[in-house]
C-alpha cells in the first residue's frame, strides 16, 4: 500500500467520523467531532506540500531534494488555533450545561428525557 493511499484514507476516515460526531445533538460529541475534523484538516494541510519521506525541510545549496517547509508552518499555526478553539468550546459547553442544565446543543431539555447517556 502506498503512502498516498494511507494518508488519503486516514483523512477520509477522520473526516467521516468528525462530520458524524459534529452532527450529533450533544455538546461532548460535537466537541469530539470538531477535534477529529481538525486532525483531518491538519493532515490534509500537511500533505498539500506533497508527501516526501526522509528529506530535510530546508533549502540549502547542497540539498537537492527537500520537503516543503511552508505547509509545516501552516499546520503549526492551524494546530495552535484549533487547540485554543477546542479549549474554548469545552469551557463554553460546560458553562452552557451548568446554566441551562442540559448538554443538548440547542439547549432544549425536553429532548433530553428519553435518551440514554
Amino acid at each position: 500500500m502506498s503512502l498516498e493511499f494511507l494518508i488519503a484514507s486516514a483523512i477520509g476516515v477522520l473526516v467521516a467520523g468528525g462530520v458524524y460526531l459534529a452532527l450529533r445533538a450533544r455538546t461532548f460529541q460535537v466537541v469530539l467531532g470538531l477535534t477529529l475534523l481538525s486532525y483531518a484538516i491538519n493532515l490534509f494541510l500537511f500533505a498539500s506540500g506533497r508527501l516526501i519521506v526522509d528529506r530535510p525541510p530546508l533549502y540549502a545549496k547542497d540539498v537537492a531534494d527537500y520537503a516543503d517547509p511552508l505547509p509545516q508552518a501552516l499546520v503549526l499555526t492551524a494546530i495552535v488555533i484549533t487547540f485554543g478553539m477546542t479549549a474554548l468550546t469545552v469551557i463554553l459547553s460546560l458553562r452552557s450545561f451548568l446554566e441551562s442544565g442540559t448538554d443538548q446543543v440547542d439547549g432544549d431539555a425536553a429532548l433530553d428525557e428519553d435518551r440514554i447517556l
Binding site: L45, S48, G84, M85, L92, S96, V105
Partner: protein, 509 residues
C-alpha cells in the same frame, strides 16, 4: 520607506496596543481603561481617514511586513476598497463604543474594551492583508474576539446561542483550511497576487481541483456573510447577544462580502481559464433567496433585535444581488450600498437597544405597552432608521437600491433581481411599519402592568442619532460617494495593477 508608507500598518498596530493597555489599566482605574479604549478608537479613525486620503491617488500600495519581499513574506495591500472598508469599520466602531460607554454595556463584564479592540484588529487586518493564509488568521482573530464579545454579559440564553455560533464558525474555519490546502497544493503559493498569476497559468488536469478550491473558499465567505442556506446561525446569535455588540457585528457579514469582492475578480477573474468566475452561477440564486429570507424574517419577527438581525440578512442579500453580477458598474453600486447597509444595520441595533432599555419588563417584544419615557425621541429615530434600512426616499438606502436597479438593468437575471429588490422592499416596509406602530403608536390596554424601569439618560439616543445623521450625509454626498465606489470597483477589475503593486511591474505581464 517613509513614515507615510508605515501608516499602512497603523490600523493593525493601534488596536494591538490599545487592547492590552486597556486590559492593564482597567484593573486599577476604570476611567483610565475607558479613556485608552476611546483614544484607540479615535486613533483608528484618524489612521483610516489618513489612509483613505492616501489611497485617493489611484496607486495601489504594498507594505511588506518585516521587509520580506512578496511572495515570500506577508504583504499588506492598501487600495481604495481596503481604505474605504477601514473608514467604515472605524466609524461604526466609534459610534458603537460611544453607545456602549453611555449605556454602561461595557460594565456588564470585565473585558469588553480589550475584546472590542481585538475584534477591530481582526477586521482591519482582514481588510488590509494580501495573503490568503493571513486572511484566515485575521478571520480567526476577529472570530475569537467576537466569541468573547457575543458572550459578554452572559446568561443561559446567550450561552446556548454561543455554543451554536462557535461550532458553526469552527466548521467554517475547517473548510477555509481545506480550500487553502488545495490552493497551495495546486499553485505553491498563498499570496493573492501570486495566486492570480499562477491560477491563470494552471494546466488542464488541475482545472477541476481549482474549481473545487474556489467554491470551497466562496462557501466560507458565504458563511461569514450569512448567505442562504448558511444564514441560520445569524438571527439566533445576534438576537441573543447584547444589542450594542450586535451593532458592531453589522460589519461582520460585510467582511465576508469584502473577501468575495477581493478574491473573486483577482484570483478567479477573466484570466483564470476554466476557473473564471466559478462562483457566479451559485451566488446569484443564493443572493435572491437571502434577500427574500431576510425580509420575510423582518415581517415575521416578534422582537426588535430579531427583526434587526433579519434586516441585516436582507440587506446583505440585496448587496450580493449587485455583487454577484460581477461587472464594474454593479460592484460600484454594491459598494455604495455596502456603506449604507453597515451603518443602517448598526443604527437599527442601537435604537433597538435604547428602546428596550426604556421598556423595562417588556424588553424589545413587538407589542403595545403603556407610555414609556423618551418614547417620542425613540419613535422618531426608529422611523428614520427604518426608512434608511428598507430603502425609502429620502435616505441613502433608496439611493443605493436605485443604483443597484440601474446597474443590473442589462443583467441576464434582470427581471428576477428587480422583482426581488422591489418585492422585498415592500415586505420590509410592511414589517417595520407593523413593529413601529405596535411599539410606539398603539397604547396598551389599561390593565397592562406599568413599566418598571429606572430612569435612562437621553444621551443614549446620541449614537443612533449620529449614525442616522451620517446616513443623511451619505445621501447628500451620494455623488462623491458614487465616484469613490466606481474608482474602487475599477481598481478591483484591474487585477494586473494589484499584481504589479505586490510583485513588481515585470510580474504583471
Amino acid at each position: 520607506m517613509t513614515a507615510l508608507d508605515h501608516l499602512a500598518i497603523a490600523p493593525i498596530v493601534t488596536p494591538v496596543i490599545a487592547a492590552p493597555l486597556a486590559l492593564l489599566a482597567m484593573r486599577r482605574r476604570r476611567w483610565a481603561g475607558v479613556a485608552i479604549s476611546l483614544a484607540g478608537c479615535a486613533a483608528m479613525l484618524i489612521a483610516a481617514l489618513a489612509l483613505f486620503a492616501v489611497a485617493q491617488d489611484e496607486m495601489i500600495r504594498a507594505y511588506p511586513i518585516g521587509g520580506w519581499p512578496a511572495p515570500f513574506g506577508i504583504v499588506l495591500v492598501l487600495d481604495r476598497l481596503a481604505a474605504g472598508m477601514l473608514v467604515l469599520a472605524a466609524i461604526l466602531a466609534s459610534a458603537v463604543m460611544g453607545h456602549a460607554i453611555v449605556t454602561g454595556a461595557d460594565r456588564r463584564g470585565w473585558h469588553f474594551h480589550p475584546l472590542f479592540h481585538f475584534q477591530m484588529l481582526g477586521l482591519n487586518g482582514a481588510f488590509l492583508t494580501g495573503d490568503l493564509f493571513n486572511l484566515f488568521v485575521f478571520f480567526e482573530v476577529l472570530l475569537i474576539a467576537s466569541y468573547g464579545l457575543m458572550l459578554h454579559g452572559q446568561g443561559a440564553l446567550r450561552m446556548k446561542a454561543g455554543v451554536a455560533y462557535v461550532v458553526v464558525n469552527i466548521v467554517g474555519s475547517a473548510i477555509f483550511l481545506v480550500a487553502l490546502g488545495l490552493l497551495y497544493a495546486l499553485t505553491g503559493t498563498l499570496n493573492m497576487a501570486d495566486l492570480a498569476r499562477r491560477v491563470a497559468a494552471l494546466g488542464g488536469e488541475d482545472q477541476a481541483l481549482i474549481r473545487v478550491a474556489g467554491l470551497l473558499l466562496l462557501t466560507v465567505f458565504a458563511l461569514k456573510a450569512a448567505v442562504v442556506p448558511l444564514h441560520l446561525w445569524l438571527p439566533r446569535t445576534y438576537a441573543a447577544t447584547m444589542p450594542v455588540v450586535a451593532a458592531l457585528f453589522a460589519i461582520m457579514t460585510k467582511v465576508g462580502v469584502y473577501a468575495m469582492i477581493r478574491v473573486v475578480p483577482l484570483v478567479f477573474g477573466n484570466g483564470a481559464g476554466a476557473a473564471a468566475w466559478v462562483p457566479a452561477p451559485w451566488l446569484l440564486p443564493a443572493a435572491i433567496l437571502t434577500t427574500l429570507a431576510g425580509f420575510a424574517g423582518v415581517l415575521a419577527a416578534r422582537a426588535l433585535r430579531e427583526q434587526a438581525a433579519f434586516a441585516i440578512i436582507g440587506s446583505t442579500g440585496t448587496l450580493l444581488l449587485a455583487i454577484s453580477c460581477w461587472t464594474p458598474a454593479t460592484i460600484a453600486a454594491g459598494l455604495y450600498y455596502l456603506g449604507h447597509a453597515t451603518l443602517a444595520g448598526g443604527a437599527l441595533f442601537l435604537i433597538a437597544d435604547a428602546t428596550l432599555r426604556r421598556r423595562g419588563q417588556y424588553g424589545d417584544t413587538i407589542m403595545p405597552t403603556p407610555r414609556f419615557a423618551g418614547q417620542d425621541s425613540a419613535a422618531l429615530l426608529y422611523l428614520g432608521v427604518a426608512i434608511a434600512i428598507v430603502g425609502l426616499p429620502p435616505l441613502s438606502g433608496f439611493v443605493g437600491k436605485l443604483m443597484i436597479l440601474h446597474a443590473t438593468a442589462d443583467a441576464a437575471w434582470q427581471a428576477a433581481i428587480w422583482w426581488t429588490i422591489l418585492g422585498t422592499t415592500l415586505i420590509g416596509v410592511v414589517g417595520l411599519a407593523r413593529s413601529g406602530s405596535l411599539i410606539f403608536w398603539k397604547r396598551a390596554d389599561t390593565e397592562a402592568s406599568a413599566i418598571a424601569c429606572p430612569a435612562r439618560s437621553p444621551a443614549e439616543f446620541a449614537a443612533p442619532a449620529v449614525l442616522l445623521a451620517l446616513l443623511g450625509g451619505y445621501t447628500v454626498a451620494a455623488g462623491w460617494a458614487t465616484e469613490q465606489a466606481q474608482a474602487a470597483a475599477a481598481q478591483v477589475f484591474a487585477p494586473s495593477r494589484y499584481v504589479a503593486a505586490v510583485l513588481g511591474p515585470e510580474a504583471a505581464r
